[in-house]
Structures are given as structure tokens and as C-alpha cells.
Amino acid sequence: MTKRPLVATLLTVAALVLLLSFKTPQSAGLGLTTQNGGTTGGVQNVGSQTGTKQNIGSTQNVSGATPGTKGSYTGQVTGSAVQIPFGVVQVQVTFQNGRITDVQALQLPNDRGHSAQVSQYAAPQLRSEVLAAQSAQVDTISGATYTSEGYLQSVQSALDQAA
């Protein structure tokens, strides 16, 4: 159990995923290909005990999530300014045909050096996780940690306004 003393006392992306789950189903844009990378290493060493392997993308071929378009609302909505113990979080959510296409932080805590540092690090992660969750139509994400409560609340309020 760790103590997260600063702003980005980080929330699971679960809540974001739930509130983004109004999207209509579509196949996940995961960038999966069936090509076999062919390199040796951990995967190969496991031998017959593993399933097949696929190239699931790497830092060299990122194309980013490209969500489809279903829904209605198009425009930008500014979320509530949410007070958290170390400052204020406020986001602006961009919708296109009912899908979130961007989340920008308008305000993040910057009262202390370390807080600001955490914010700068966490905010892009949060944005990415929102977009990833939406594009894949998932209920929750395993392994995700970068979601701050304030960020979540502000996104929620933007969604409420767009609804």
C-alpha cells in the first residue's frame, strides 16, 4: 500500500471507462496484426506452453487510437473546476459525433514544484487512457493507474453537460 501524497492521487480508469461506456460497440482499434515478429526472447523461450504471438505495436509504430464515429454531440465542453486537496483540476472535453476526441487539462495543481511535476506527467496519461478506453469499448482496464479523481470528476461534468 503506497501513499500518494500529491495531486495525482491517481484513480483507476474504471470510472472513466464506465462513464464513457455510452458508446456503441465497435471493434477495438488495438493495432493488432497477425504478423509474427520472429525475434527470440522471452516469448520464444516458453516454447510450446504458450499460445501464438502477435505484434501488438511498439513505440516505433504508434498511430494512435482512431475511434469510430457514432452518437450525436459535436463540440467542446468545459468541465467543472474540481477542488482537490492540492489544487484545482478542470478539463475541456472535445466531442465529435458523440465521441470524445480530446481531453485537455485547463487547470492542474501547480502550487508546489512536485505537484506540478506530477500533474504534467499524469495529465497526458489520463488523456490517453480516456481515449484508449473509449476506443476499445471496455468496462474497465487492468494495469491502468493514472486517473486522478479531480480529472475524473471534471470529465464527468463535461459529459453531463454534453448529454
Binding site: L19, V46, G98, L131, Q137, V138, A163
Partner: protein, 267 residues
């Protein structure tokens, strides 16, 4: 909290709170379950944090670590947790070892407490009538029942290198999904034998009936590195997948145990 744009709002309850230094979300899809059930589950988790946190100097675990408390004198809960830790240590050939983190060799059961307590929180929800629910504590997940009638829960696995992508998506009905990786909080899992962070394997996900064991197994398998997948394949009722990459971060690949095939959402 439910939002309606394209479809009807979700019924049920969903709340996220900060406990144990992370965010814990409880998502119950049965409309009959009262909000007080979530209160009780969160109260329980806060109580576990008070008793088990290593960041609270007066917690029972802190006293155990300092040697002020003998293992024989621990509370029944802590005795149980320590026994579970020992069980996993043996099952993992020592790769999950709560005494390996500290120079003094004192036991620190933190690596098992979260999964164990989340699983217990699920039982609290069930006692209140929850049959279809999802708990996500800092990326470790328990789902029971279904997301909606006839629909499995879709659980994404975070891509360890690319935050806006998922490595894959699972569709599961009753399962624990735990992921250990180096992308979060730096490389915090180390091989207890070498003291080094494992290379190449970027994240390891374990799926199985229990989050208590699944979480600890994921930790152990990640520490094992290349041999982790084979080890998980040998465990009854548990399956796993790993994301590996070349040293330069290229060629990220998903590999999985044979039984994991049935977990994929798009197959």
C-alpha cells in the same frame, strides 16, 4: 454518475474512492443493491488500509515489520494474509517473497493485501445482493456475473508502452484480472534472487478465480521474466499473458498460455 448520450444510462451503482494510495472503483450493475453496500465495502477497505499500511507507523503491519509484534500475536486477518503469502512463496519457488524486500528480512505482506482485501470487498457486495459487479483497485480487477444481461465484462489490458492503446481486450464473466508491470511507478518489482528489475517482459497479466492469488501470481510471474508464462501455465485454474519487447522498446508482443485463448474478447 451514469451518462446517456447514445444509449440508455447504466443502472446500478458506481463509485470511486482513494484508498491504499490508489483509486478503488466499485461498479455494481444490479439495480437492487443499495448504496449502503458500497459504503460498507469502502469502509472495510479503509479499515484494511489503517491496519495494513506500511505508511502508517502505528498500523499492525508497521509494528510487525519493526519487530514490535510477533507473528504469533498478529490479528487473525494478518495471520491469514501471512499464511497466504507463504503459500504463494512456495508455489512460486520464492519469486513472491515478502521477506526479500527488506534488508532485515522482516515480512512485508503489502504485495498480497490489496488483492485479498478487494476480493473481500466483493464478498461484502455479494452479501448485499450484488451478483454482477466489477471492482478495480489500481488496475487490479475482479469481475463477477455479467456487465449486462448476456454480455461478458470487457476488461482491457493496458499497453505497457503506449498509454492510448490497450494490449488486448478480454471478455470474462467471473474472473480476477491482475496486471504487474514496470510502467507504473517505475520498476518496483525486482527479482528477489538478483535484486534486478526484470528485462524484456514489460507487463504480466494473470486471470483466474481469485484476485488474492492472481495479483500475487502476476507479481511473481513478472519477476520471473521469460519463464513466468510457463510457470503460470502450470498453475491450475490460472492463465496469463505477457507483453514483451525488444530492449529498444520495439516489437511489443503479446504471448499467452494455452488456456488464455478463451479469455480474448475478439476471437
Amino acid at each position: 454518475m451514469a451518462v446517456s448520450l447514445a444509449t440508455a444510462p447504466l443502472s446500478g451503482l458506481h463509485r470511486v474512492e482513494h484508498i491504499m494510495g490508489t483509486a478503488i472503483g466499485l461498479d455494481v450493475r444490479n439495480a437492487s443493491v443499495p448504496g449502503t453496500a458500497l459504503d460498507r465495502a469502502f469502509d472495510y477497505l479503509r479499515d484494511v488500509d489503517l491496519r495494513f499500511s506500511t505508511y502508517k507507523s502505528d498500523s499492525e503491519v508497521s509494528r510487525l515489520i519493526r519487530g514490535e509484534l510477533d507473528e504469533a500475536d498478529c490479528s487473525p486477518d494478518l495471520v491469514q494474509v501471512l499464511a497466504l503469502c507463504e503459500q504463494v512463496r512456495r508455489a512460486s519457488d520464492g519469486y513472491f517473497d515478502i521477506r526479500a524486500h527488506r534488508p532485515d528480512g522482516r515480512p512485508d505482506p503489502t504485495g498480497l493485501v490489496k488483492g485479498w482485501s478487494l476480493e473481500n470487498a466483493g464478498r461484502i457486495l455479494e452479501a448485499a445482493g450484488a451478483r454482477d459487479y466489477c471492482i478495480n483497485g489500481g488496475g487490479d480487477v475482479v469481475v463477477r456475473g455479467e456487465a449486462a444481461p448476456g454480455k461478458a465484462w470487457r476488461v482491457g489490458i493496458r499497453h505497457p508502452l503506449i498509454a492510448d492503446r490497450l494490449a488486448t481486450v478480454l471478455a470474462v464473466r467471473g474472473a480476477a484480472v491482475a496486471t504487474s508491470g514496470a510502467y507504473e511507478r517505475g520498476a518496483h518489482i525486482r527479482d528477489p534472487f538478483t535484486g534486478q528489475a526484470p528485462g524484456r517482459v514489460l507487463s504480466f497479466t494473470v486471470v483466474g478465480p481469485s484476485l488474492t492469488f492472481g495479483d500475487a501470481y502476476a507479481t511473481a510471474a513478472f519477476a520471473m521474466g521469460p519463464t513466468g508464462l510457463g510457470w503460470v501455465a502450470s498453475l491450475p485454474d490460472y492463465e496469463g499473458c505477457s507483453v514483451t519487447a525488444d530492449p529498444d522498446g520495439s516489437n511489443a508482443r503479446l504471448a499467452w498460455t494455452p488456456g488464455f485463448d478463451s479469455c480474448f474478447a475478439d476471437r
